[in-house]
């Protein structure tokens, strides 16, 4: 089940200046680039940050996917392209960007 996207009013309470939304966009771009370049250490660092922060700011789905990836990463399991694609799709939806077809 997809969780509701926070309303503008909710986001205003948690992120009055919209800086977290700006961070999501930067993280989205960085994840896409790092995934392509294979820089997995930096990718894990960004995903770990999203695992802790996204849910706090009301982006529950992004947070849930990031937590899944982070947990697997901490357990020593490989990060799969499919998981990264899911995370990017969730980021794109939250940011109001059209999702790319698989």
């Amino acid at each position: 089940m997809r969780r509701p996207t926070p309303s503008a009013a909710d986001l205003k309470l948690l992120d009055p200046e919209g800086s977290f939304r700006g961070r999501l966009e930067k993280d989205r771009q960085a994840i896409a680039q790092l995934s392509d370049s294979g820089n997995l250490d930096e990718l894990r660092r960004i995903v770990h940050g999203l695992a802790g922060a996204a849910g706090t700011f009301g982006f529950a789905e992004i947070g849930d996917i990031a937590i899944e990836i982070d947990d697997r990463s901490v357990a020593g399991e490989a990060v799969t392209p499919a998981e990264i694609a899911r995370l990017l799709a969730a980021l794109e939806q939250a940011l109001g960007k059209p999702e790319k077809s698989a």
Binding site: A9, D10, L14, R23, H48, G52, T56, G58, D71
Partner: protein, 253 residues
Amino acid sequence: MTMDIAAAEGDAAARSDRTAAAAFEARILVVEDDESIAALLGRELRGLGHAVDSVRFAEDALLAARANDYALMIVDLGLPDGDGLDLVREMRRRSVEAPILMLTARRRVEDRVIGLSSGADDYLVKPFAVPEMRARVTALLRRPSRLRGHRISIANVVVDTDALEAVVDGVSLALPRKQFQLLELLARRKNHMTPKRMIEETLYGFDDDVSANSIEAQISKLRRALKAAGAGVALETRRGIGYRLLGSSQAPN
């Protein structure tokens, strides 16, 4: 739960917390390298009326703790220059006694146990709900025994919580145990109203038989003892609200 409900609950909790915190402004150190989380914590804690210092690195946190008298520290576990667990252990080794709320994305029970065993007083898992963070901060700040300092001064009165002694103008004032505990609590919260319920919780255990006027009687005895010793303080009563210890120059006429 929808976000609207969460926001409404958050608003209600914020109002409640702000009311509770209005009488007690604390200085809080936030040790967090995630800029978004650090900014959120700073904004929320300042909204509760507290002063907030924020650092990203464990080394800076140690320097800040040495230079300042914090009422509470919020410490993230994953810091760029080290493990937050090591930082907490080092703080405790250096006798930093401020309550520590550990903040972490580590969700396993064993992680929480290790965190608390290392010297943290409470543990909040990220992602967290802002109303829960506010409530935990308020609860930690409410613990009078963990507030700062072993020697609390107000006017010519010094309360030495290590020696369990009150001193007025350099002369020891012999007080029964409950009156000393009462004086310590009021001195820690000097200039702020202390609710009667908080005094009851400090002075009496669950099983103690507390009569309706027990607190009033203890207040009255303490007031007389302070006056007889020449203490330059006033113990103010506000009916239905609580009690407040003031330096005499601050006492209302």
